[in-house]
């Protein structure tokens, strides 16, 4: 009971402190540069100053937290990537040099590209389709909850789930993996799915798609519902059918959000390793960059230099996406 009470008090305090920051700084800003009750020339000058400061007040906590929690580690990673395994001696680009000659790394890059091609596209696609379809039926919310469920299941749970799908038992045995049960009931020979080189990548991707579709669905569903209903009505009047409305009216209007979802999942794919770790740990040629990094960082004491070097590569891969986003943002701000 006491723990519960303490918990509530700490929660309230934490949230309150955060809200108070915004109220107080704004109040202070308006105090220091008053615009009410002073001469109007003063007021407008004050307003101008205040308006130059205010964005930074709004951004302040976010920038601070981002710097501490993300930018500082990035810098640290770059620094580490130029040092040896224990982070002591400077080794220049040796880690990167090692990397490009490492077969496993090349394998990971190749696999990562496969993942990047397949997962964001399919997860976004399914998310979009589901969001659009469930919107029109009375049990849509139930359907959505069910499809959302994989997201809510912990990774440990998910790996067991997929064990029960991909599990392999020898031919003639009772299969406990659903996939093999289906294959054998159709007369095929059971396969050890996750050990089939190349194809096993896709079996692992299925898991991530299965999970991430829920994410895409929720975000896109919010976006779809934000589309002005009247534009859809107009299209209906114009004689458009369901497909046409979907592709020509709805999708273009939520294009920005689709891009956001796609970007987010792409980046997530760059970082994905739980699935690979839990299912194969990169064996049978399923290694991906993030798992490789994790491997080097923490396995058996770790090699921080190489781990960080791989992390730097992962981060560098996001640069094109950043540039694309800068473009979008500037275009949007102009129009």
């Amino acid at each position: 009971m006491q723990q519960l009470f303490m918990a509530i008090v700490t929660m309230a305090a934490g949230v309150f402190a955060c809200a108070a920051y915004f109220f107080l700084t704004n109040w202070l800003l308006d105090r220091i540069f008053p615009s009410r009750g002073v001469s109007s020339a003063r007021a407008s000058r004050n307003m101008r100053i205040a308006n130059q400061i205010r964005p930074w007040l709004f951004l302040g906590p976010a920038l601070l937290l981002l710097s501490v929690y993300l930018i500082y580690p990035v810098i640290e990673s770059v620094w580490l990537s130029l040092h040896d395994r224990s982070g002591q001696a400077f080794v220049g680009l040796a880690n990167f040099n090692w990397m490009i000659h490492d077969g496993e790394f090349r394998q990971s890059i190749f696999n990562n590209f496969l993942w990047l091609l397949v997962v964001p596209a399919l997860a976004t696609f399914f998310g979009l389709v589901i969001a659009a379809l469930t919107d029109r039926i009375w049990w849509g919310n139930i359907a959505k909850t069910l499809i959302f469920m994989p997201m809510a299941i912990s990774f440990v749970g998910a790996s067991v789930i997929w064990k029960f799908i991909y599990d392999y038992r020898a031919e003639g045995r009772d299969q406990i993996g659903l996939l093999n049960a289906i294959v054998t009931s159709l007369g095929g020979a059971p396969q050890a799915w996750i050990t089939l080189p190349f194809w096993n990548n896709f079996f692992l991707m299925v898991i991530l798609i299965w999970i991430q579709t829920g994410f895409a669905m929720v975000i896109l569903s919010a976006a779809l519902r934000g589309i002005p209903e009247e534009t859809i009505e107009a299209a209906v009047i114009d004689g458009a059918n369901g497909w046409q409305i979907f592709f020509k009216i709805m999708i273009p209007q939520i294009w920005g959000t689709i891009a956001v979802v796609w970007t987010t999942i792409t980046i997530l794919v760059l970082k994905v390793f739980d699935i690979v770790l839990a299912m194969t740990n990169g064996q049978w040629q399923t290694q991906v960059l993030a798992n490789l990094m994790f491997d080097w960082m923490f396995r058996g004491g770790g090699d921080f230099g190489r781990g960080a070097a791989i992390a730097v590569i992962i981060m560098a891969l996001v640069v094109p996406i950043m540039i694309w986003n800068i473009r979008n943002a500037t275009r949007e701000m102009k129009g």
């Binding site: 964005p55 299941i153 976006a223 996001v318």
Partner: protein
């Protein structure tokens, strides 16, 4: 809603949604059924077989010599091979080589001359002229049709684990502020990035996107070091709730800002203008116009952030610690799995126990993903 209810397309929609839902839930259904099954069955037969009566080969060990009774000069051990389970024996045997040598009801003569009868209802008699010896009872192999049987034992075991209540509260204490705080901070930042004029706006947006990629693992050591030195300086412990909130906030911020900014940038400019003309300051516009209108985006992000913080293990372990008092729910459940993580029955049950809270959150927040929030606001978009 449009008056198009009866179009044949609607059936196609229903069917395709049904299909997708089935595809998506099938794996989870497997987990659910597995969590209700006997743990020994998990590795032996597919979860879908649990739904129907199945013919199984079981091994039963009869009681040892101490259970024998003397009857008509013979020594008898009797009992029931099914232990009261609702099943039907079809065949039995006494050797692992021929486990189904005799149909139910027949009497088999064992190697040592004793006679074994197993009837359909599972009752058996082991009759011998000599006294039985040893406390290792006779193995009886049976083939029985076993109807579906489910048990809540797995759940009971998980829920009765010591400290689970504490961990539940710990998890909530971590997850709730770790959801609310980033939303608050990100919403302000997103507003500034979407609607305020200042130099470097586009670059900041891109930086936020770029930071999405920073692997969590890279941050842990430098941050914990920072925490330790700050904690040391202030004389407070390094692992506190505030610390983990901020950590989750930091890690969640890029996505929050990115999602919210995208949403906010799509709100009609006129509404903001109108508020501006009404004399509202940026702060007031944000609180009174933007926030209420951004509910769908806030709700969707809240769903995810809650989920991630709730399911998170790594960050909690590092920034909160793994001690008995600080353990979060996921940590507690993983610990139940034992050192070698093999108890699937625990895993399956605990997966469903952890999923409940996020699903409730999803359900509660889903109603904020409303349609037509902006309807009636501006004419002639």
């Amino acid at each position: 809603m449009l008056a198009t209810k009866r179009s044949p397309l609607v059936w196609a929609v229903h069917l395709s949604v049904l299909l997708i839902v089935i595809l998506w839930t099938l794996p989870t259904a497997g987990l659910l059924i597995s969590s209700l099954r006997d743990k020994d069955q998990l590795a032996v037969s597919g979860w879908w077989t649990a739904l129907s009566t199945s013919s199984q080969n079981l091994v039963y060990r009869a009681p040892g010599a101490e259970a024998q009774a003397q009857k008509d000069g013979k020594f008898v051990i009797s009992g029931n091979v099914l232990d009261g389970a609702n099943a039907k024996v079809s065949a039995f045997g006494f050797s692992s080589r021929e486990p189904a040598a005799f149909p139910a009801g027949q009497t088999a003569t064992l190697n040592d001359g004793a006679q074994l009868t197993v009837r359909e209802d599972g009752s058996f008699d082991l009759v011998s002229d000599k006294s039985f010896e040893g406390d290792r009872g006779q193995r009886i192999f049976i083939t029985a049709g076993v109807p579906p049987r489910f048990t809540f034992d797995n759940y009971r075991e998980v829920l009765r684990a010591a400290g689970i209540g504490t961990s539940f509260i710990n998890s909530l204490t971590v997850a709730i502020p770790a959801t609310v705080i980033p939303i608050l901070i990100a919403a302000f930042a997103a507003y500034a990035l979407a609607w305020m004029q200042f130099p470097g706006r586009a670059v900041l947006v891109a930086v936020v996107v770029g930071l999405l990629v920073v692997p969590l693992q890279m941050s842990l050591i430098p941050l914990l070091r920072l925490y330790n030195s700050i904690g040391g300086m202030l004389g407070v412990p390094a692992k506190t709730y505030a610390g983990i909130w901020l950590a989750h906030t930091g890690f969640g911020l890029p996505l929050a800002i990115y999602l919210l900014r995208n949403y906010m940038a799509g709100l009609p400019k006129e509404i903001m203008e109108s508020a501006r003309v009404d004399g509202a300051s940026d702060f007031e516009i944000f609180v009174k116009i933007i926030l209420p209108l951004s509910f769908p985006a806030l709700a969707s992000f809240a769903i995810f952030q809650f989920l991630w913080t709730w399911n998170d293990l790594l960050v909690a372990m590092v920034f909160l610690g793994a001690g008995d008092q600080e353990l979060v729910l996921t940590g507690r459940l993983v610990n139940l799995l034992g050192s070698r993580g093999g108890n699937w029955e625990i895993l399956t049950a605990s997966a469903f126990i952890t999923i409940i809270v996020p699903l409730l959150v999803f359900f509660a927040l889903q109603r904020y993903l409303v349609r037509g929030l902006l309807a009636g606001s501006v004419k002639g978009g």
